[in-house]
Symmetry: C2
Subunit: 246 residues, 2 copies
């Protein structure tokens, strides 16, 4: 039996981009962990966000099976890509194998992760500060993208991470930049959604902004817009936002 599928295709930059958009557009994902009690894999659902470096973020209860399992073994996997209409296997999907890192409340990254997660999932405000809930960063280790029958690609973990010298500077100005866009350019998010997401419906707002792109949300919908390339300097942000608007 072949360990490497014969149908494996060469991984192009376009495939990497499709994979990133699929992953970063998700509101929740199936999460597989190694069940600490039985040794079986176990697949459950977790709300997902992303950290400023592209790592996946989950907020889970200490009472859940996946919490106990991730504490015992950090190896896990998520799948992005919902089946939608028609043949479920004709829709693109991405399997990402990750290593989980718990982000405790005294971690310097906690405040930023919490803010980003709550802008993406406002209802999580209800329980985010419950003592048994905790954030984990799931850092991509490797991935495979299946674009439909006969279209399988292997990706590296770094293909799903953001490589930029401006990550920290942008993280530091994210709250202010989003507030500025909401106050002074309230129509911009809807323009971006129409232009890049080909959707004319919805009351869109920017809910995330990082070195690689924007997260837009409207009700239950989430839309990821990636820039042509990651920003290398934070001062480039306003030029990119303006260029994307026109």
């Amino acid at each position: 039996m072949a360990e490497k599928p014969k149908l494996l295709q060469d991984t192009t930059e376009d495939v990497r981009r499709q994979a990133r958009v699929l992953l970063r557009s998700a509101r929740s994902l199936p999460l597989a962990t190694l069940d600490a009690a039985t040794g079986f894999p176990a697949v459950s659902r977790a709300l997902t966000g992303m950290d400023v470096d592209g790592s996946i973020v989950i907020l889970i209860s200490g009472l859940s099976q996946h919490f106990a399992s991730l504490m015992a073994d950090p190896r896990c996997s998520v799948m992005a890509g919902e089946p939608g209409k028609g043949d479920p296997l004709a829709h693109p999907r991405l399997t990402v194998q990750c290593k989980a890192e718990r982000v405790s409340r005294d971690d310097a990254r906690h405040s930023r992760i919490r803010s980003r997660f709550l802008r993406r999932h406002p209802k999580a405000q209800l329980y985010v500060d419950f003592p048994d809930f905790a954030f984990f960063r799931l850092v991509p280790d490797s991935a495979s993208f299946n674009g439909g029958f006969g279209k399988a690609y292997v990706l590296e973990g770094r293909d799903l991470l953001i490589d930029s010298s401006a990550i920290d500077a942008l993280a530091g100005m994210e709250d202010d930049a989003i507030a500025h866009m909401a106050n002074d350019h309230p129509e911009a998010a809807t323009v971006y959604a129409a232009k890049f997401g080909k959707t004319s419906e919805g009351n869109w707002r920017i809910c995330g902004l990082d070195a690689s792109g924007l997260d837009l949300s409207s009700g239950d919908s989430l839309l990821r817009v990636e820039y042509d390339a990651p920003l290398t300097e934070s001062v480039h942000l306003r030029f990119v936002l303006k260029k994307m608007y026109n």
Copy 2:
């Protein structure tokens, strides 16, 4: 940290029934395996059907990661329950830990599993007989059902299997019974869908029939209708189908 969630509820017959319907209504499911190459769990998507005893059936390619992984370690997990509208965690979902058994072409069960799968997934006809494709039965070992916040239940594997002395007799008459219903009572499937699935749209047909219930399909939709209790004798089938019609 608690290994047994404090929020665990007593598992009622109604919960078991909800879990069975959720699982048996699925066209495809996230499938977690233990990646033979890396030891990580890996979650991918597989088309799913069910065998006459309630075991989950998948048809997968020998070129896929999950095939190699299941051959190396039969422990796996599926999750039923799509997130739908609104909060993804407010929707019921079921995690099932299973042991996988490959069903080879010379297995006495292969013909029946193939027929049932193709009635559920007619497009799989295109590749079902490719030499690298194979069926696996995923036999439920244990499960957990999450009906929304604070509603967690533990199930046993047998809660998702069918216990009846009429399984084999019904399997032997399934093809004929479905043909009879399609020819002589073509409107019955739509009546069942309206009555038990509360759906008035669609051109419904019976695509599966076993000791525990019926599978109805219309285009991309699949609907599971469970009898009040499993049939104990195959001769009861026509009475149940008639009773459900009226």
